[in-house]
């Protein structure tokens, strides 16, 4: 006699988790690939897309071979300090996770979870890897149009191993910061703030695009931007909805909140463009910026705030980032670093806003896990507006400080290692040409002037006319 799954596995939760993961995967491919591919200058579209596809692939392999256990595995004890010392709670063990046990056994987190997982480790690993994989694709936006392709292929695995894993373990893997009380519903710190910081540092270390490209570098295809943006928005339902790890009430509340914050942020940016920009016109790409800000801002608190909080967070963050985008960008160091797509604003500053705003808006009534008996009413977060206490804001701030400082320094070091090993920039003669020089391909090939080399025309007589 056969059964489809063990008693601990719930097909509803398992389905939600894997579907949410698939939605997040779609955010990267084709989402980010074509969003950035359409926003970048035409001559760099192919390079951008290939970096997205290869970056995603590299993270997948690295993840199952070691980074997953570094991020969520048994804590690695450096032995420095006591059991609860930072250094004994900053990273997991180095161990692959690809055997049939690793894939099919029930997921268990070393430090224990409030509720045993309702699915196997493959589900959890896949859900987590799509988050890890999108992060480099986000900061890719900062270094478009000049970074050496090989350098990208080396930097991504290094960064995931040395930077992402540490932040993930500290905040999600039950590490030091988690123990201190900082919360990150689904990646405000680990993903967006870290991506913004890394992108900015990388843009600085790699150096700017050609002056010529910055002078003429308009986007190439706004319909493609639309394809990517739409997938990003709706894909985010999985990004934030998947993070309670169960298909419960908080998951769908997080989905609704995500959409509310995003709508509020998109409209805020659009109206600020209409009323405060020099042209006094609503712009499509401005609206998309606002949309991204909303998605990013609500990420660390999607299931901790209520609908009002979500709308307000989107509104506030969008206004802040709009101002930063239009004015902060004119002062050093921002004016000096060529962050091609402005990742430091739409992910860095927006992520920071979100992380801090949770400290204010978190509603204790938003129960992530229901508590019975003395655990009642359950697990939730209490923000300043409900507790009157600055505690959570402070915890959020400390974690933000850590992520910014650590990520900046570590990324800087890794970039230098890559620079010394193989160099970070394409040579100028390639920069002048773009995709055709680096990949022998262009985004929209023209057939009139291209002729196949040594093409066999076997089996077909040339037809003439037209």
């Amino acid at each position: 006699m056969y059964i489809p799954y063990p008693h601990w596995l719930n097909p509803g939760d398992n389905t939600w988790q894997i579907v949410a993961a698939t939605l997040v995967g779609l955010m990267s491919l084709p989402g980010i690939a074509v969003l950035y591919g359409g926003l970048v200058q035409k001559k760099w579209a192919v390079n951008t897309m290939l970096m997205a596809f290869s970056g995603f692939s590299l993270v997948l392999i690295v993840w199952v071979l070691w980074a997953f256990n570094l991020s969520f595995g048994v804590p690695y004890h450096t032995g420095i300090g006591g059991d609860h010392s930072f250094f004994n709670n900053m990273i997991g063990h180095f161990h692959p996770a690809v055997s049939h046990f690793a894939e099919q056994n029930q997921e268990v987190l070393p430090e224990g979870t409030l509720i045993p997982f309702h699915y196997n480790q493959a589900t959890f690993m896949y859900f987590q890897v799509v988050f890890a994989a999108i992060t480099p694709l986000l900061f890719l936006g900062s270094v478009l149009g000049r970074m050496k392709f090989k350098a990208w292929c080396l930097f991504v695995p290094l960064w995931i191993t040395c930077v992402y894993s540490v932040n993930a373990f500290l905040i999600w893997g039950g590490g030091f910061l988690a123990q201190k009380g900082a919360v990150d519903y689904s990646g405000g710190y680990v993903i967006h703030l870290a991506a913004g910081v890394t992108g900015f540092v990388a843009a600085w270390v790699v150096g700017p695009r050609l002056a010529r490209d910055r002078r003429h570098g308009v986007p190439n295809n706004l319909l493609m931007v639309s394809v990517g943006a739409g997938i990003l928005w709706l894909g985010w339902n999985g990004f934030n909805g998947g993070d309670p790890f169960y298909a419960g009430a908080d998951a769908t509340s997080a989905v609704l909140n995500t959409n509310l914050a995003t709508a509020a942020a998109l409209l805020t940016w659009m109206f600020m463009d209409m009323f405060f920009s020099r042209q006094k016109k609503a712009t499509f790409l401005g609206a998309i910026n606002g949309m991204i800000v909303g998605l990013v801002t609500i990420t660390p608190g999607a299931g901790f705030v209520n609908g009002y909080g979500a709308i307000l967070e989107g509104l506030i963050a969008s206004a802040i980032v709009w101002v930063a985008w239009n004015y902060l960008s004119k002062v050093r160091p921002f004016s000096k670093v060529d962050d091609a797509l402005g990742v430091v604003y739409t992910h860095g500053i927006a992520g920071l806003c979100g992380c801090l705003l949770v400290g204010f808006f978190a509603d204790p009534g938003m129960i992530e896990y229901i508590g019975l008996g003395k655990a009642a009413p359950g697990f939730s977060v209490v923000g300043l507006f409900y507790s009157g206490s600055w505690h959570q804001v402070w915890e959020q701030f400390l974690a933000a400080a850590w992520v910014i400082v650590f990520t900046a320094i570590a990324s800087f070091i890794l970039l230098w290692i890559v620079k010394l090993l193989i160099g970070l920039r394409e040579p100028d003669e390639n920069l002048e040409i773009g995709d055709l020089a680096v990949h022998d391909e262009e985004a929209y090939p023209e057939e009139t002037f291209a002729e196949r080399v040594g093409s066999s025309v076997a089996g077909s007589s040339e037809a003439i006319g037209t």
Binding site: L39, V218, P219, S277, T283, L285, G342
Partner: protein, 112 residues
């Protein structure tokens, strides 16, 4: 023979073509071009960055004709393309020493 080159507003292409048909002009060649002149261009804004575009889309017509037809063709094109607004364009005439129809090899007026 003469080569009449007319740079006019794109949406006037039909009008000019139809007017020339009436004159019995058999053919012409059109190119999409960008014009720079008195008519100012526009500003484009992408993600907050302003780009100035000093050029305006125009269409460029080339019409090879016999010398004697030159005046009427010139007048016809000018009349058909005119809107009275700045940016209506220019028409100029260049001498042509030889014309050949590829299909038949005919030369001169017969080639038109």
């Amino acid at each position: 023979m003469k080569l009449v080159i007319a740079v006019v507003k794109p949406f006037k292409l039909d009008a000019v073509k139809e007017a020339l048909k009436v004159l019995g002009i058999q053919g012409l060649t059109v190119t999409e071009v960008q014009g720079f002149g008195r008519q100012r261009g526009h500003t484009e804004v992408y993600r907050g960055a302003e780009y100035e575009v000093e050029f305006v889309p125009k269409v460029r017509l080339e019409i090879v004709i016999d010398d004697e037809r030159m005046p009427e063709v010139l007048d016809t094109v000018v009349a058909a393309a005119n809107t009275g607004k700045i940016g209506d364009g220019k028409v100029w005439v260049v001498p042509v020493e030889e014309v050949v129809r590829v299909r038949t090899g005919e030369r001169g007026s017969d080639a038109l």
